[in-house]
Symmetry: C2
Subunit: 212 residues, 2 copies
């Protein structure tokens, strides 16, 4: 693991004037406190700095063995995915919302003869519920995000890479799919086998610290 230039600079500043508050660090580096947060978090996790509440950051020592961090990207999506909840395109928006609540999930996936054709999030439903859509008549197929405009993953992707995609694309979950047929002459088709959401990633993060 290589530290960034800014992380090295933070270490120098803390070594020199410890304890140093994050406000003081932000001022010295000419950035906002928010911009520093991620760097301070990573330096704390690798054991270089310690955050003392109401005091500031102190220097602890050289970065510890970071092989564990490298292993994080070895956990596969297939190991931690949840079951997807699916409905068909013809389901009314109202019935789909009820199904969403009954299954207590944040996203419904839409299947057509076993093929993933779309996705609808709680946010999409809310937008339509207040936007004048006749939710008792309009089928969910009308309001869904349609394939291929859905970010998908496979069971063999790392959970880490999918977490990155969730953050980059600002989405709540990613369907885990398997390709169907040879797809030589047609648009590729996919079967949904699972999903990875921020909940799965948060659970994995909690697992990481267990037993300590």
């Amino acid at each position: 693991m290589k530290l960034s230039e800014r992380q090295e600079e933070i270490i120098r500043l803390v070594k020199k004037g410890q304890p140093v508050t994050s406000e003081a660090l932000a001022e010295k580096l000419g950035v906002t406190r928010a911009a520093l947060r991620a760097d301070l978090a990573i330096l704390t996790m690798i054991g270089v700095l310690d955050a003392r509440p109401k005091v500031g950051y102190v220097y602890l020592g050289e970065a510890q063995n970071t092989r564990i961090l490298e292993n994080i990207s070895r956990v596969l999506a297939g190991e931690i995915m949840s079951k997807p909840v699916t409905v068909t395109e013809e389901t009314t928006v109202y019935d789909a919302i009820v199904f969403l609540f009954l299954n207590d999930v944040g996203t419904l996936f839409i299947e057509n003869n076993g093929i993933l054709v779309g996705a609808v999030s709680r946010k999409d439903f809310l937008k339509n519920a207040i936007g004048g859509t006749d939710i008792h008549k309009v089928p969910v197929g009308v309001i869904m995000t349609r394939m291929p405009n859905i970010v998908c993953g496979s069971t063999e992707d790392s959970a880490y890479d999918l977490a990155k995609k969730i953050i980059e694309h600002e989405i709540d979950s990613i369907p885990i799919v398997e390709k169907i047929g040879d797809g030589l002459n047609e648009r590729p088709q996919f079967k949904i086998v699972g999903k990875i959401s921020k909940t799965n990633i948060t659970k994995l993060f909690v697992k990481l610290g267990e037993g300590n």
Copy 2:
């Protein structure tokens, strides 16, 4: 870090018959594959097992230095929290939903003279939008979850402990608060200064693996 009995049993089984698929492990242990996922993920992350796609698990060696995992719980909520988005109790449900979309957040917090009095999630809004509530007339104060029935945290809680609370209570986010006044003779009151959501935890997880 201490491994659980089941994790030790998994290691024994993999050592004996590697490569071993998770299906085979689940069968031998008499549990579902889903029940094994978390154990397999943790054993992969600490470098004991390797998950080979389409092959199965193989044994790599003794658990590596797990001090990094212990450090995870040293990252404080104050280091990674986001800004909370707040409205007052009198805001109509409709206006609050519009505000939710404009700020692109999942939860609104309700303030009364600078005091946190409630919270409303996207799920609460959706329930009311389809449930016959006159969203143009009813104020958000009527549908919100009211203090003290909200799980709160402080800037000095570890992000790890709050992630655990998010999973245990099945909530999306936790307001980060500061106590106001001495609270000797009255019900304690809190000012909201931030929030920690599954998004913050997912971002922290992504940070963990950066630079590798």
